[in-house]
């Protein structure tokens, strides 16, 4: 009874309310701060010391704002779209392993919500459902800029999804399993993180995930100069906040997936070398969070550094560079795997 219902429920509550939601709100502050520092500014400084309470102030402002639905909007779809884009970003955490099974209060507790056989496919399929939030927001607003932005966004997501999924196939070839925990264990047994075996796959995955989360330099769906703000132009208040939070939740998801697949998940550096056992002072989940944080920082860094792509450049990069490269990488991986191993 306790093992089947209480513990999973507790884990879900902890991951959502102690993990994802604070992380998402503070990602917003981190982004503003890092970009400010990159541009020799201070960023938010007024609310609390060094602006640490800024997310709270933002949340209160967004909740108190008037919630506007345009007259000609498709009311049902307009209401559902922010929810549809938020939910997939949250349910992916069900399969992300934050750590191995540890002993907690005298009983073994696994530091992941569940470990399904098809974990990686689950992540991909849930992410593919997330596209609906963007398409429907643009459609339901019944306004031309959101519609244009949502068409752009969905074309971009569909194109880059192909490349990203192909790189995941080469990961599966190397590890021989679809389970997220199994992939980390395979890296432990292989004595090497997959990023060093599959550098091409990792680079394609990283570029693809920048595009899939609509982040700079691929943030065309939100290009203010051309589209006044993107698919969420007509949204206000809490509904707008949901889109905003979904984007950050998705960033955290792709960082965690990248960490799990390519950078050894919860494993410390060189987990098989006994000399480095002193590194175990940090528990496994801390290593996981550290690695994910590096990715999140790089996301912000890229945004502060690179200019936006043009739409045709974006499509050319996706279809003519990344997808052929991913297919070639998959072929080479398969051949090497059959010939050598």
């Amino acid at each position: 009874m306790i093992d089947t219902f209480v513990i999973p429920l507790l884990k879900i509550l902890i991951v959502l309310f102690a993990g994802v939601l604070p992380a998402v709100t503070y990602m917003v502050l981190l982004e503003r701060k890092v970009i400010a520092w990159a541009q020799s500014r201070l960023g938010p400084m007024r609310v609390g010391p060094y602006g640490v309470l800024q997310p709270v102030a933002d949340a209160i402002k967004l909740i108190l704002k008037e919630d506007i639905t345009p007259t000609k909007a498709d009311r049902w779809v307009f209401t559902a779209a922010p929810i549809i884009s938020m939910v997939p970003a949250l349910i992916v955490y069900a399969v992300i392993p934050f750590g191995p099974t540890v002993n907690l209060f005298g009983r073994p507790v696994s530091l992941y919500i569940t470990d399904v056989n098809v974990g990686l496919l689950y992540v991909v399929s849930v992410a593919s459902v997330g596209v609906y939030g963007i398409i429907l927001a643009g459609y339901a607003s019944n306004s031309k800029f959101p519609l244009l932005a949502s068409l752009r966004a969905s074309a971009q997501l569909i194109s880059y999804e192909v490349a990203v999924t192909l790189t995941l196939v080469s990961v599966i070839l190397m590890t021989g399993t679809l389970s997220m925990v199994g992939i980390v264990n395979a890296q432990y047994n292989a004595h090497v993180w997959l990023a060093f075996v599959q550098p091409v796959a990792f680079v394609i995955f990283f570029i693809g995930s920048l595009a899939e989360t609509n982040r700079a330099p691929f943030d065309l769906p939100e290009a203010e100069q051309e589209l006044t703000g993107g698919f969420h132009t007509e949204y206000s208040g809490m509904r707008f906040a949901l889109f905003f939070l979904a984007e950050y939740a998705n960033m955290i998801v792709v960082s965690s997936v990248a960490t799990t697949l390519f950078w050894g998940g919860w494993l410390r550096p060189f987990p098989n070398i006994a000399m480095l056992h002193f590194l175990d002072v940090l528990p496994s989940w801390m290593w996981f969070l550290l690695k994910s944080f590096v990715f999140l920082y790089v996301f912000i860094w890229v945004r502060a550094t690179l200019p936006r792509y043009r739409y045709d450049q974006l499509m050319r990069l996706g279809w003519k560079v990344l997808i052929p490269l991913a297919i070639a990488n998959l072929l080479v991986t398969g051949i090497v795997k059959v010939m050598l191993l």
């Binding site: 498709d74 049902w76 779809v77 399904v116 056989n117 098809v118 496919l121 689950y122 991909v124 399929s125 849930v126 992410a127 593919s128 459902v129 596209v131 609906y132 398409i135 429907l136 459609y139 519609l147 068409l151 969905s154 569909i158 679809l178």
Partner: protein, 171 residues
């Protein structure tokens, strides 16, 4: 018992959404009901202990194909209600005949499924050298069902080349 309740609930939702798909006036809404329908079918696969099939159902149908439907529906403006005039090319009688034939065929399949073991059941009960849902699907596809699998991929290739040729007249 619990499984039967879950099955009939899911089946009710699937049929209900399927009816909504064909009766809703707004085309975009009807596509959305189709997505919901696919998601419930995926839940049905989970109930049948086929997680791989469930995830592929979401990935390919709900997340892939219907997005393209939605594109088409959004780009061609179908918002006006269908006119009340009678379509002179509508082949009502032939349509009825064909659907009756399909119904009889489906009934025959269901009845014959009770009579003898179908090849699918036979394949599922045969011992396989691999464990795990994904591995077993892969094993069956590359042994017993290799030729249908290859023909299906051939068909997809033909469709893809056909689409490219149609879209791009001067190659």
């Amino acid at each position: 018992m619990a499984q039967a309740i879950a099955f009939y609930t899911l089946a009710a939702f699937i049929l209900g959404f399927a009816v909504l798909v064909v009766t809703t006036k707004d085309t975009v809404h009807s596509v959305l009901f189709l997505v919901l329908d696919f998601l419930f079918v995926a839940a049905l696969y989970v109930l049948l202990n086929a997680p791989f099939l469930a995830v592929i159902q979401v990935l390919v149908y709900a997340g892939g194909i219907v997005v393209l439907y939605l594109f088409v529906v959004m780009l061609v403006n179908l918002k006006r209600p269908p006119e009340a005039h009678r379509d002179p090319h509508r082949l009502t009688k032939i349509g009825f005949g064909l659907s009756a034939a399909v119904l009889v065929e489906l009934g025959a399949i269901v009845v014959s499924g009770y009579m003898k073991t179908s090849p699918v059941v036979a394949a599922a009960t045969e011992t396989m050298p691999v464990t795990g849902n994904t591995e077993q699907v892969g094993w069956l596809l590359y042994t017993s069902y290799l030729i249908p699998f290859e023909i299906a991929s051939m068909l997809l290739l033909v469709a893809m080349i056909g689409a490219i040729v149609l879209a791009k007249r001067e190659l």
